[in-house]
Amino acid sequence: MSQDTLFDKVWDLHKVSSLPGGSDQIFIGLHLIHEVTSPQAFGALKDKNLKVKFPDRTVATVDHIVPTDNQSRPFKDNLAEQMIETLENNCLEHKIRFFNIGSGNQGIVHVVAPELGLTQPGMTIACGDSHTSTHGAFGSIAFGIGTSQVRDVLATQTIAMNKLKVRQIWCENQLSNGVYAKDLVLHIINKLGVKAGVGFAYEFAGPAINALSMEERMTICNMSIEGGARCGYINPDEKTFSYIKNKLCAPKNKNWEKALTWWKSLKSDENSIYDDVIEIDASKIEPTVTWGITPGQSIGINQQIPLLDELSPNDKLVAEEAFEYMSFTPGQSIKDIPVDVCFIGSCTNGRISDLRIAAKVLKDKKVYKNVKAFVVPGSEKVANEAKQEGLDQIFKDSGFQWREPGCSMCLAMNSDKLIGNQVSASSSNRNFKGRQGSPSGRTLLMSPAMVAAAAINGKVSDVREFIN
C-alpha cells in the first residue's frame, strides 16, 4: 500500500469518514459541472427534496453540446438548446456560478477551471467527465464521476470511494525536438496498456515531466484515464505556482502568500512508497500516432502497424477488431495514410500553446486539397488570446476553419461529425469506434503539430520534416 505520496496526503486530508462497507467518504474541494451529466443529478436532488450543500464549491460551464459555427440562441438543435437551458435554470435556482457563452470565460470545463485559477494544488476535484484527471497536473487529486455521484457531491460535497493504489511513472531524459506531451502519454498508454491503470492513480514524475509546461502537463494527466487510471497527477512546483498567480480566481495578496506556503509543503516524500513504479525513456519516443480503436494502439511515425503475431494474446482480440474496423493492413506503414478531416481542439490539446505550435507549422502553408481542417479553441480565453497573437489568421490563411470554443468533434455531440468512414487526424483523446460522430468514422490520435502536418500533406506525416 502506498505511503506518503501526494495522493496519500491529499486523500487523508479530505477523508470525512470510513463508511460501513469499507470505502471512504471523501470531501470534494471543487466540483465542476456541465450540461451533459448534471441535469439528472439536479433532478434527483429535487426527487429527494435535497438542496445543494455548498453552492460556492460548484462551478459550471457549457461545452459538450455547443455548436462551434453559430452560437446564437436559441441553438438550431432543439435538444442542445434544452440542455443549456436546463443548466442555466439549475445554476440560477441553486446559486451556482455559471460561465456561459459570451462571458469571456466559457469553454471546455478542463480548460476553463485551470485558466481561471480554480484548479489548485492539494484540492480534490470531481466532475461528471472522465477527463477530470486533467487537473492533476496542478498536484490536485482529480477524477471523473458519474451522474449519481454528481448528485452526491451536490447534496453532500462528498462521495463514497475506494482509495486507489499509486503507480509512479518515472519519465527519464527529455523529449526530443518535434515530440510533445501527447506523444509521451500515447507512448505510456501503449507500453502499459489501456487497463493497466484500473484501480490506480498515476503519479507522473522524472526529468521529462519536470521540463514540461503546465499545459503540457495537463495533456499528460488528461489522458491518464485512457490508460485506465481514473486519476493522474504531478507534484506541484514553481511552474505550477506561477501559472496560477494572478488568474481571475487565484488567491491574492496575503492569501496568495498563505496559499504558496501550503502548496510548497505538498508533494510526495522522497522516500514515499508506491504500489508500483514504471520507468519510461522519454528520449526514445517518436511522434506517435494511433492506428486502431483504443488509445493504446499506437506506434511511432516511422513504424509499421503491428502484425497479429507480434501482439500478446490479450491484445490480439481487440487488434483483430481494429484491423477490420480501420481497414488497415497489419505491417502497413502509418506514415502516408491519407486523411480526410483534421481536427485541432479538445481538453487534451485545445489550449493556447497547442494552437501556437500548430500555427507555427501551418504558417505560409496550405491545407491539402479536399481535406477538411478546423480548429476549435478550448475556451473563449484561448480564442481571444489566439486572436490577439494573430493565430486565427494563420489558421484561416492556411485553409483551416476557425471555430467557436467547445468540445466539438472530440465526441461529436454537436454538428461537427465525421461522415461515413472518413479518416480523421485528431488532437483529441479517443479513437473509439464511432467516437467522432460517424458509426464507421476512423480516428487517428496525434499531437496538434502532427495534425497540422497531416493537414498540409493530406496524409499522416512526420512533423519534424516541417520544423527542423
Binding site: 479530505h14 463508511l19 429527494k48 436546463t86 452526491d152 475506494n162 501550503w262 465526441l411 464511432g434
Partner: protein, 207 residues
C-alpha cells in the same frame, strides 16, 4: 417496453436470470451508448439505444438483438468493460434494456462505480471461467442464480465463486449502495471538514 423498467431500490442479495454474452475486450462507453444519445435531461428512453451503432453494423446479429436474449438480465463480458467516458448513461442504458448484473474479467473504474451507484452489481471471474460461460451461452440458454451473500453463481450444471469488492457487496446487502443518505448521516463531519481544509480559508474570496 423494457425502457420503462423501474430502477432497483433497497437491499440486493440475489440476481436470477438468463445470461447474455457479449464478446470483446475494451468495449467502451461510447459503444454502449453513442454520444448523440446523451442529449437528454433524463435517462428514461436510453434502453432502446444501447449499443445502437454496433447493432446497426451487425444487422440483427448483435446479442442484444437476438430473439433468444430478449429476456436476459445477466450480462457476461470480457476485460476492461466500460472503459472511456464517465457517462452514467452507459449503465443506465444497460439497466433500462433489462440488465441487472454484470460478470466480466475486469471493469473500468468509473463504469464500475456508476453501476454500483445505480444498483447493478458487477462481478469478476478469471478469463477461463468466463470463456466457459460464454461458450455455454452460445450453445443454449444459461440461467444463473447469483447469491451476493456468498458471492456465488450457479446454474443447473455450473458453479462459480464470484469476486466482488467487499465494500460493494456489503453496500448491496445493506441497501446502502444508494449512497446519498449514508453520506448525509455524517453532516457534522462534513461541516468540520469544510471548516478545516486549509485551501478553503485562502480561497474565501470565492465563497
Amino acid at each position: 417496453m423494457k425502457s420503462e423498467l423501474t430502477p432497483p431500490i433497497g437491499k440486493i442479495s440475489n440476481v436470477h436470470g438468463q445470461c447474455i454474452s457479449l464478446i470483446g475486450n475494451d468495449i467502451d462507453t461510447d459503444r454502449i451508448i453513442p454520444a448523440r444519445f446523451l442529449k437528454c435531461v433524463n435517462f428514461d428512453s436510453l434502453g432502446e439505444s444501447v449499443f445502437e451503432d454496433d447493432r446497426k453494423t451487425l444487422k440483427g446479429r448483435h446479442p442484444f438483438d437476438l430473439e433468444e436474449n430478449k429476456n436476459a438480465s445477466i450480462l457476461i463480458v470480457n476485460s476492461n468493460f466500460g472503459c472511456g467516458s464517465s457517462r452514467e448513461h452507459a449503465p443506465q442504458a444497460l439497466m433500462r434494456w433489462g440488465i441487472k448484473a454484470i460478470i466480466g474479467e475486469s471493469f473500468a473504474d468509473i463504469f464500475y462505480s456508476n453501476c454500483i451507484a445505480i444498483g447493478i452489481p458487477c462481478f469478476t471471474l478469471p478469463k477461463k471461467s468466463l470463456e466457459k460461460i460464454q461458450n455455454h451461452c452460445d450453445n443454449k440458454f444459461l440461467f444463473l442464480e447469483i447469491d451476493l451473500k456468498n458471492s456465488m453463481a450457479k446454474s443447473k450444471d455450473l458453479r462459480f465463486n464470484l469476486e466482488i469488492k467487499e465494500s460493494s457487496r456489503k453496500m448491496f446487502l445493506s441497501g446502502e449502495w444508494d449512497a446519498t443518505s449514508t453520506l448525509l448521516e455524517n453532516k457534522n463531519l462534513i461541516e468540520n471538514k469544510f471548516n478545516d481544509l486549509p485551501y478553503l480559508k485562502f480561497n474565501s474570496h470565492l465563497m
